[in-house]
């Protein structure tokens, strides 16, 4: 009983984390751009201000609101599932349930802009779908490879090479799914007048932006949980270690995002696949050669 209360408290605390971390990232980005930048709580202020604004309806705004709330609901439940796995009991059904909820939330947030009749939103939505097609499957593949390699007995050093390449792929897919440059082409602010957000206003915009930020949190949390769970002594991962690690990864991703430009929709899938295919081939050969199951 005590564990579930703890899970509730930790999950509740983690809900505010994306807003604060986004403020921190904007501060670091401003530092790289040699300027002071906003206070760390700036994204929180933006969120609260948006709550007080009027919503400008557009055809299909009811459905879009529903989809945005659905996305947040799925993400929160995925967060709770992951926390439950960490704190309460280490049973793999719950871990993969959390992962599944995250992927469904990703799909629903990719659908929302397609409902909006604005041409920019449509194009942003199609770009989002293309990127997540390439990216989500590779993430699932890499998670599968990791769990299979670690599940069986290690026969030869090839297994470790396979494991290493699967982990690298996992981190790269988590970076791409956070929608940061060079892969923020769905929200490409300058080309598509902030593509997928263009028609949302007020609380609806707040909900959709919050969904985006929570997706960034989960996209970093899942690789960490999986790798820490399989590699290190299971007892190691507790929220006290996980949250600082998330903050570190969030800042590393933020710095990486500021020193690169934005790619183009016809270049992005090619450059991603050029990266993913060799890594996946490496990890699968590592799996086949290096590991055998009893």
């Amino acid at each position: 009983m005590f564990d579930t209360i703890l899970v509730g408290i930790v999950s509740g605390a983690m809900l505010v984390l994306p807003l604060l971390l986004d403020g921190l990232e904007r501060k670091v980005k401003a530092g790289i751009q040699t300027r002071i930048g906003p206070p760390v709580t700036q994204t929180l202020y933006d969120f609260l201000k948006l709550m007080g604004k009027e919503v400008k309806p557009f055809t299909g705004s009811a459905l879009a609101t529903y989809m945005a709330l659905l996305t947040i609901l799925l993400q929160v439940s995925s967060l709770i599932a992951l926390n439950y796995f960490i704190i309460a009991e280490r049973n793999f059904q719950i871990l993969f349930a959390g992962l599944a909820l995250f992927l469904v939330a990703q799909a629903s947030s990719a659908m929302t802009p397609l409902l909006v009749p604005n041409p920019f939103s449509q194009i942003g939505g199609y770009r989002e779908v293309v990127i997540s097609l390439v990216n989500e499957f590779t993430m699932i593949l890499s998670i599968g490879a990791i769990s299979l390699i670690l599940g069986g007995k290690v026969a030869s050093p090839y297994a470790y090479i396979g494991l290493l390449s699967a982990m690298i792929t996992l981190f790269i897919t988590s970076y791409v799914s956070t929608g940061r440059p060079p892969f923020d082409i769905a929200e490409a602010e300058v080309e598509l007048a902030s593509g997928i957000f263009v028609e949302f206003s007020g609380p609806l915009l707040a909900a959709y932006v919050y969904g985006m930020l929570t997706r960034r949190l989960l996209a970093k949390m899942i690789p960490l949980v999986i790798i820490l769970q399989f590699l290190t002594d299971p007892g190691l991962i507790t929220p006290l270690i996980l949250v600082p690690l998330i903050v570190v990864i969030w800042l590393v991703y933020g710095i990486a995002a500021t020193i690169v430009g934005r790619t183009r929709i016809d270049m992005a899938p090619i450059s991603l696949l050029k990266l993913y295919i060799p890594l996946m081939v490496l990890s699968i050969t590592g799996l086949l050669i290096g590991v055998y199951h009893a």
Partner: protein
């Protein structure tokens, strides 16, 4: 500078062939011919003599001699001549032959003449190019009988733009983040490939030419010319001042010309740094934008230190300048230029190395050389497509004859070439300012007493950061009788149709920005709906390619 007569004989023979009168005044050749000879003469000038068609000027000279006049302005860059091909048209409904078949670049200036002065052009498709929607069709603002502040009674307050259904339309503008100016490009796309571009409405038509002829005096028009464009304003006010000084044959003190050239180059620095920052921003590389504009802030402080204002300098007057660059300012200028050069070189090398920037700039928005010549594009857009033309070297003005500099020319004609041309020009400008500062002579900075005889013509081309802009002035009593401005972006926009065709949509804003459009320069003209139906300027119709 002695003009060798062999070149002039060539023009004299040309004039005699179509019994037109020819007079030479300084470096300007005035050819006055009958209307029916104009297309032939224009064709020869453009194709045989390889002159560049800059623009055409329609003037209501009925108070002077009872006629309308249409003047086509050419420049013979290799020999440094201005050629004014003038013809008179009588009657209240003047008709003139069009020269679009021989010179495609003359398309828009003819349409402007048609709307502002009411000259009908035969033998071409006509469409409404000027004046906002709801403007009565028989009122011509630039006629002398029109009162400059008479506004139409009915103001069109809201209109819904119908998006045609054939292929999905992506409206870029009028308030698009990539263009910080109200411009409207309708891109027809299949998937994300741009199939067709429709350009509608420059929204920055403020009636500058009419204002210059009615309320303003000679000295006030300088401040009006400076505000045609907020980025290259000083080019316009220098061009206007030089045109009036050429018309009235004033010899402006040498020191004033040096100060003008120095401030012109400072403005080029700020304009190119601005464009490079915005180009990085459009490619998503915001850190490059921020760092480029951090460097540019020193140039803004330098221009404020020299002229008293960050942007609209306001030191230019007919007959000289208002503010002197005294001795103790020199060390500060040289020190600013050195730090600028060092930081700029470092940042550009880093920015070009960013994979996304390099991949998205090279190979996009390609303008082949023949299209560039045919459309008469200007400035960096021309120099990036292999046309070696620069008004500072071909038609030297102000103090550019004392300065030696290299004109960067690339041949790829894509966005990267246009960026590299601008990068090289920044280094050239820095070395030019240093040369000018060394050779600046002593002496007065302004002519005190002078008078401007009415009825004289002055034409001047000044190389703005975006290309050559040309001012045409007919002097009048205390204020210009007719003052025509044509900015470089005016010729670069039709080239956009060639550049945007078959390009991915994501690059449309980058390509549109690559010509460094300054719509407020260009916007004394307006493309407008014709009684409700949005006119479709398809690729082949508008400009004959």
């Amino acid at each position: 500078m002695l003009r060798n007569t062999s070149i002039i004989d060539k023009y004299v023979k040309l004039a005699e062939s179509s019994n037109a009168s020819l007079t030479v005044d300084g470096d300007t050749i005035h050819i006055v011919a009958k209307p029916e000879y104009i297309p032939g003469l224009a064709g020869k000038l453009f194709n045989e003599f390889k002159c560049v068609h800059r623009t055409c000027v329609a003037t209501d000279e009925r108070p002077l001699n009872g006629f309308f006049s249409l003047t086509h302005l050419f420049t013979d860059d290799s020999n440094g001549f201005y050629i004014a091909l003038k013809t008179y048209l009588e009657g209240d409904k003047p008709r003139a032959p069009s020269i679009v078949d021989q010179v495609p670049a003359a398309d828009w200036c003819e349409m402007e003449a048609r709307d502002l002065v009411g000259i009908e052009f035969e033998g071409r498709s006509t469409y409404r190019l000027v004046l906002p929607p709801g403007w009565p069709s028989d009122v011509y603002p630039l006629r002398k009988d029109f009162q400059y502040d008479k506004r139409p009674s009915m103001l069109p307050v809201s209109e819904k733009i119908t998006i045609t259904e054939e292929s999905s339309t992506v409206p870029v503008g009028p308030y698009h983040p990539a263009l910080h100016e109200p411009e409207y490009f309708e891109l027809y796309v299949e998937g994300e490939k741009v199939v067709d571009v429709k350009y509608r409405g420059f929204h920055v038509h403020r009636g500058i030419e009419k204002l210059g002829e009615s309320r303003m005096t000679y000295q006030q028009v300088n401040f009006l010319a400076e505000r045609i464009c907020g980025i290259c304003g000083f080019e316009h006010s220098t061009c206007y001042a030089l045109a009036v000084e050429k018309a009235a044959k004033l010899d402006v003190p040498e020191r004033a010309q040096f100060i003008r050239s120095i401030v012109l180059e400072v403005e080029r620095l700020h304009s190119h740094l601005l464009w490079l920052g915005v180009a990085f921003h459009l490619v998503g590389y915001d850190a490059g934008f921020m760092h480029m504009w951090r460097i540019r802030e020193k140039v803004m402080y330098l221009s404020e230190y020299l002229t008293g204002s960050r942007k609209t300098y306001g030191i230019n007057l007919v007959g000289g300048v208002r503010k002197d660059i005294n001795e103790e300012k020199k060390p500060k200028i040289l020190e600013t230029l050195d730090t600028l050069e060092k930081e700029f070189k470092e940042l550009v090398s880093i920015a070009i190395s960013v994979p996304q920037v390099k991949r998205r700039l090279t190979g996009t928005g390609i303008l082949p050389r023949e299209d560039a010549v045919k459309l008469g594009v200007e400035g960096p857009v021309a120099r990036a497509s292999g046309i070696d033309r620069d008004a500072r070297r071909d038609l030297p003005y102000a103090a550019y004859k004392h300065v030696s500099f290299k004109v960067p020319v690339y041949t790829e004609g894509d966005n990267m070439a246009r960026a590299l041309v601008r990068v090289d020009e920044v280094f050239e400008s820095i070395s030019m300012i240093k040369q000018l500062l060394d050779q600046i002579p002593k002496g007065p900075i302004r002519l005190e007493e002078f008078d401007i005889p009415p009825g004289k013509i002055g034409i001047q081309v000044v190389e703005a950061p975006r290309g050559g802009d040309i001012h045409f002035v007919i002097t009048g009593e205390g204020k210009p009788y007719r003052w025509r401005v044509r900015a470089p972006t005016y010729n670069n926009i039709p080239a956009l149709k060639v550049m945007l065709r078959d390009q991915p949509l994501a690059d449309a804003p980058l390509t549109i920005a690559s010509i460094d459009p300054c719509f407020s320069c260009t916007d004394r003209v307006v493309v407008v709906k014709e009684d409700g139906s949005v006119l479709k300027l398809n690729l082949t119709g508008g400009v004959k390619l």
